[in-house]
Amino acid sequence: MTNTQEKKSSSRRSFLSAAASGLTLTFLIPDFTRIDEALGASGTQVNAWLNVAIDETITLTVGSSEMGQGSFTGLAQVVAEELMVDFSRVRTVQGSPSMTSPVPVGASINTVGSGVIRGNFWKMRDAGAIAREMLVKAAMNQRADQVRTNFTVANGVVTHTPTRSTLSYGSLAAAAALLPPPATAPLVPDNEFRIIGKTVPRQDIPSKVDGSAKYGLDVQVPGMVYAVVKHCPTFGGTMSTKPSTPSGMLAVVPLSVFAGTGRGTEVTGAVNAIAVVGPNTWDVWQASRRLTVRWNLPANAASLNDAEFLRQANALAVSAPAYVPGGANPPGTLYTVEGAAAATDSALSSSAKIVDATYFLPYVSHACMEVLNCTVSYSPAVKCEIWAPTQSAKSVLQLAMAMTGLLENQIVVHTMYLGGGLGRKAEVDFVSQAIQVSIAVGKPVKLMWPREEDFARDQYRPMGLVHAKAGLDSSGNITGWSYRNISPSILGQRGAVLGPKGDSQGSEASNALPYNFGSRNVEWVSHPSPIPVGFWRSVGASINTFAVECFMDELAAAANQDPYQFRRTKLTDPRWIAVLDAAAQLGNWTSPLPAGRTRGIAIGAAFNSIVAQVVEISNVTTTSITINRVSLAIDPYIHVNPGQIEAQMQGGIVHGLNAALYGKQTFVNGAAQAKNFNRSRMIRLNEMPQIAVQIVANPTLSDRTRVIGGAGELGVPTFAPALANAYFKKTGKRQRSLPFFPNATMGEL
């Protein structure tokens, strides 16, 4: 539908689909500047597009995924603001991925890194403004008056002020579609915002209270059969002999690791699972449970144990070979992220006081409420249709092309609602399995991982051991800061060749900290454990912010200073100070507490947002802590929907809380031990603390040179250290190892 005439004359910003239905503005995410390449390509779909139809409807199609984070709504708000229409008039629909994109494959539609709003805010504003100006231009042509100031826009109606005549967007859409888009269009000034920065209801919520929202696991396709996956319980194990098909079942399909989907122990081509296929979930699942599969266990199974992982980490904390440019740099290599060891060591050696501490964080499962699943309908040499709860629709498309040899236009990817993603659904291992089964049985198939498989075959938040050492002078200034994090590499397990600074995901939130540390040296060491690891809500910040902020608390105590004031006097970034102050004020830091209660504080940044939390606790026992109150302040620079930020902070705090108190995956001889929620406790409603959230305002909103921060993952990192610091205040004991209660269980309802 692309109007080829328009291609040459259009700006580099956008191009048009001149359709009878009205104005369609296609814009590229996340990179406008290489539009020409996209125009030269044959694809018709780009990552997001905006349609103003002749029937007055306005539709924004978004490629990213909706998993409760509300970014669809946020994007619609931004567009509605610039189009100058009521928010309720912009309908958001789920788009499909395409290889036609100006960005590297797989990078464009991933819903990760708290990135949907922060990556698209300005693009959405430009798109809305350009569309608005094209509609106004159409009105100018129709009224034969080329003086722009003679026209105003409100609620999707263009008024010609001299004649007081009005034209609706719908009546202008067809004519606007034939106009060249302007290179730029004026944006709505900050002080006229009606929608950006306001809480509006999320568009997906009504369907989530009546059972009509369709998640991946809800997909039903005519003629569909069901597949239930059973992996080798031991990481690195492979099928020995294919079991015969149980009676009543259609097939047993061996599943192999497709190139690019295996992590750590799981190597390409290895048959690490089978799928039992049959008439419905329950019958198939029962048959799968009864089925005995003989597995070849890996030679290193006996070394895949928590105790061994800890031993390796402790050894690497003492000594590790340094990165060599161009060298092999095998696991166990030390990378310097910031500073130099020699300078910091010498600063430390002349300090009045030395403090050091070692922190440990375990592997943690994602445990999304909806288990991994995928539905595929494959017709040989004709078509492959995929329904997936995915954070990476484009990776799904790319995988399907590679696995089936079909062309892009023969593959359809439907991004379904996600019952939680948490980073796990950015992977496509489960999608590759569903494609394999559909090819093998020649029917549409819905493939499901039972909850036990979802826990036992996760790509976990990496374990991490952090050794920190700092010096203080006699006035409590920090003279040197030495920090070493030893953890398995997420990027390394995805084939990345690590540069001199190691894995950016692993060192995230440990470097460039705006504290006055004197001499600083930050190191990251790749831990050799091959247990599959992946992106878990807030990724490296979940490890580093815990260690950094617990250690800052230890330094405050060693300097005999209040932990809030200690941090405040060390901070060098006014935005961090404002956030710390806001959290302290919200949490009544300086007022006395009722007897039995204590508070802890922590601050950190991730995904360009700054967050501080004050956590208030009471009633500490050997199996429980009562968390009474959490006060959180966030500075995302620009915020679109404060109600939604509040919801994300509440959710992030609960995520961080579950992990801090109970989250842990344990490995015995390569097999995960916690396989359901009964062994991976999380809080229930009666344990929910009262949470207060404050968004710290910035003076100048619409400075497009400023980086916008994310929200989705930001509640997580600062919770655990604030809790541990409150626990110290309460008990005098430092909790340097998470979780607090590793043996907790969760009972039946």
Partner: protein, 145 residues
């Protein structure tokens, strides 16, 4: 075997090879009522909660045989047009995040309300797991009913 099920006021005849198939999978796979969710399968999470003769039941652990002949209500049948007070409060209070647990939560609330409890009391009996952590909004929304 063939069984009669009464779901959302309608009688359904279902064929199952295994009478111990949990109601959850009958609803989802055989009747296409996918609003009721699978979370854990071991009676811990509550995502599968439905109303059976007015009481909350975990459908992942209720044999279809023992559900036969009883009045089953799922989220799809709770009301027309999301008009149940709990649904209205949940929309007004913007409770769901991913939403996956909410069918179970809302059915639990609806059962407790049916027993005459006020919203703010009923919510105290909600033990359903919400990985997204929407508990505070559940509490706030329930105060309005």
């Amino acid at each position: 075997m063939t069984l009669q099920l009464n779901v959302n006021g309608q009688n359904h005849q279902v064929n199952v090879s295994d009478g111990s198939m949990p109601l959850l999978w009958v609803l989802r796979d055989l009747l296409g009522l996918t609003g009721t969710k699978y979370g854990c399968g071991i009676e811990v999470c509550g995502a599968c909660t439905v109303m059976v003769d007015g009481q909350p039941e975990l459908s992942c652990d209720l044999d279809v045989t023992s559900a036969a002949g009883r009045k089953i209500v799922t989220i799809e049948g709770l009301s027309a047009n999301r008009s149940h007070p709990v649904q209205q409060a949940w929309v007004a209070g913007q409770v769901p995040q991913c939403g996956y647990c909410q069918s179970g939560v809302i059915m639990t609330m609806a059962c407790k309300m049916k027993a005459g409890a006020r919203g703010s009391d009923a919510v105290k009996e909600v033990k359903n797991l919400c990985v997204c952590g929407t508990y505070q909004r559940m509490k706030e929304a329930s105060k309005t009913i």
